[in-house]
Point group: C3
Chain length 343, copies 3
């Protein structure tokens, strides 16, 4: 039997199993620069003096650490829930990931099943930095029926992260308006407000592959043109990061996302597609008397259609143009910080 | 009104206005490696033990910090003057930029105007690292005439940076000949001398976009294939850095540019173009008894024509092949440094 | 005479000559991230807390430092021998290279000759980190016969690095099975065993150029589409690193290669080619009672054919599909390390 690993199938997962998550990864200045170069992200907190790692850089790294033992044979990434960033990761720190199977359900086709995983990421110190639940549809190895066809185990998941659970410590110092260039603060936004972000980003063949490999994601469908009829699939994390980077236009005073309530990769993306995005504010929470408030944002990323050109259209995940819908909690400064004497 | 920002128009600028320059940026090992990978620069001072940031990496970062509030609606970058690098930036330091409007002139077409900006970049300590004047042609928002049509305010600019103003401290230790591989020193050059640098660099679609985003330059014309009829424009900083990297062949013992006297982006560059360059020495200054002398170089970058194949041709900014002409002060060691025992 | 350098020809080399190797290079987090993003390497030791530089990143950097004075006019890289990694390089250290001519032989065509170089790389402290012999075929400048046609000087080279010469200190702590995700240890392998690694990697135009420039390799044939009839040649180091990265599938508990016995770049690679690889274990050595054993591996990298689809085919360097054959000593943990309490 060959020693090379073709990935786990549905039958290989057991309830409460600890799935290996290679490989612990040090995140440094190199990853930060690469992330900025490939996405164009300009969020002030993640490119300046603080040396804090971008939350989505962390998320993609942690998710990718689960690829080899969870999703090499995945048919689809079905969703995320209860994703909370607990504390910032600083340049030079190393991230270790663990994943536990918490749900199993065989599909009625009996060709695949759904696996739910509780994933946690920690620093070498043991401090928790990120946790979430993710579920994926995985191929079955054989045709024999499993117990999870008739007795599925489906975890109960929260619809959204409760604002009380958001981590808003570790935010000082807040960036000043002159550092962000933005004039809008928490009080300026309102529920139901829509922001079209205008800027387009065309995906090139090499960049999406570099982005995916940056996180050591090794799912072959992203890299092998022969095996994909010259259409390697773009890793779902890339439109997420591109959309989030575009979203800065209109949310310049954001501190960075602190939770993901849910996410849907609605349609595939390939090199050559141009991505645009739109945000809708769907809930607000002042977080008591904190210096920041929380905006719950529905970020929609579209391909080859700029929502700004269709102000009267509401996109849904059924629209082929919509590639990603992400429901996140974002923090925004409540009042513009005093202009610090420069610098 | 949407919160997303479409950029300033000529009417939005006022004399002596401080223009926001988001976002302060930490420059680290990641930016250094990315810069080398995308340009091929081999200047000894900017890849070795010193950890000094390449002057053009710094310049592009600072210029890009002015993009959102100055040049989103720019028609053309008209020029640079009086650009002086005051002291090196070290890996890990953060750069903050400020820009003040010092000139305004409405064009006779009444559709656009010229804005002059004095731009300065400082470390978090407050130390000045770079200053320059830049002027750009910006679209007008409306058709109403401004006072700057008949009463333009045009700053008087020096034709070149005076050699006395060049910063030649912070140069020790100079690289040795064995470290640079070059045998030519200051005394070997002469005014009027031309050096064709031979090497060609073909621009690929992803790399020029990564380069531009590395500096968080967000001008959409560089990134959106749909909005540009599949011809995204290459950021002017990229041919500058490529030409400067190519220029090392024949100037191996350079210490790095310390001033830009003027610069003209003569013709556009797109992915697929191959760039070549030529240098002419147009002035020399021994800088007293310093260990280095200053060469004033006219660097010409051409597309799809190698000047080395046309030794008798003099290119001017009217030639479509010439994409960039840059007039800089470069420092070169006066005598080959003693071969330090290895290493 | 122009100051730009067109490279050395066969006649320019003398026995025992010290060839300049510009430029000393600091290897930091930026180079590490770029290497991972461009190759997908996931070897645990080179992306985690230790901050050790990947041996092939080091090798490509050192080799590239010899390009300007050795191989600008090379017709072919003929081989490597006796390549030994003496100690790890840590993030932030600077590598200095020296090369001495140890063999010269003019070819019977009298148009070229072979140059053998002993190359050594050291840290600024003087510590040796890498040494090897390399030989290249270099064009002659003229038609005059040299003494090395009739009196060639050909060094005697070892067929393989003796296991006694492998450096196995500096390995603690070994990664745990949960960190690598692999279950196979030294004892599980056997001589004659073949592992097909499955994953394909399609080379894109920009990425192979970025990879080559990352090491400041300036051989024009890799970068200039005009001079190469739109077929820039991929730098031989890239298939080497891609193949080595793919090889992890089945060798998850490897510690990293410690020697290269020989290497053959059998056929050229261009953008658009998809690479796959296969490993054969050709010798094993338990290294006494060390915690690791040595596997001598023959890594074969193929283009546009996946060896996994041809299990009964044995590829040789005469097959056009085979682009690289590399004979290396790899270290693998002898027993799975105890699962350290997380993390």
């Amino acid at each position: 039997m060959s020693k090379s690993f073709a990935g786990n199938f549905f039958e290989d997962f057991e309830l409460h199993q600890d799935v290996p998550c290679p490989t612990p990864r040090r995140l440094g200045s190199g990853e930060v620069a690469q992330y900025i170069a490939l996405t164009g992200d300009r969020t002030a907190r993640f490119c300046g003096e603080l040396g804090h790692i971008h939350p989505l850089l962390l998320f993609h790294q942690v998710l990718s650490q689960t690829v080899r033992h969870v999703s090499l044979n995945a048919i689809a990434n079905l969703g995320y829930a209860q994703l909370v960033f607990s504390q910032p990761v600083s340049t030079g720190q190393t991230v270790h990931t663990a994943a536990e199977v918490i749900g199993l359900k065989e599909n009625s086709s009996q060709r695949s099943g759904i696996v739910w995983l509780k994933t946690t990421a920690r620093l070498s110190s043991g401090d928790l930095v990120l946790s979430f639940v993710r579920w994926v549809m995985v191929r079955k190895r054989g045709s024999e029926t499993t117990e999870f066809l008739n007795s599925p185990i489906v975890p109960v998941l929260q619809q959204r992260v409760c604002p009380d659970s958001l981590h808003i410590e570790h935010l000082e110092p807040l960036p000043t308006a002159s550092q962000t260039g933005g004039k809008w603060t928490y009080e300026d936004y309102s529920v139901g407000e829509r922001i079209d972000h205008h800027d387009g980003h065309t995906i090139t063949p090499g960049e999406h592959m570099s982005f995916t490999r940056l996180f050591q994601n090794s799912a072959r469908v992203h890299f092998d043109a022969l095996a994909t009829q010259s259409k390697p699939l773009v890793f779902g994390g890339y439109p997420m990061s591109i959309g989030y980077a575009q979203m800065l236009n209109g949310l310049e005073n954001r501190l960075g996302l602190v939770a993901i309530n849910s996410g849907t990769h609605a349609h595939p993306v390939h090199a050559g597609d141009t991505l645009y995005s739109r945000t809708e504010i769907i809930e607000m929470d002042p977080l008591g008397d904190a210096t920041v408030g929380a905006l719950r944002c529905r970020l929609q990323v579209c391909k080859n259609i700029n929502p700004a050109d269709h102000p009267d259209t509401t996109f849904t995940t059924r629209d082929e143009a919509l590639v990603l819908e992400l429901d996140i909690w974002e923090l925004v400064s409540k009042t513009t910080q005093p202009h610090r004497s420069h610098p």
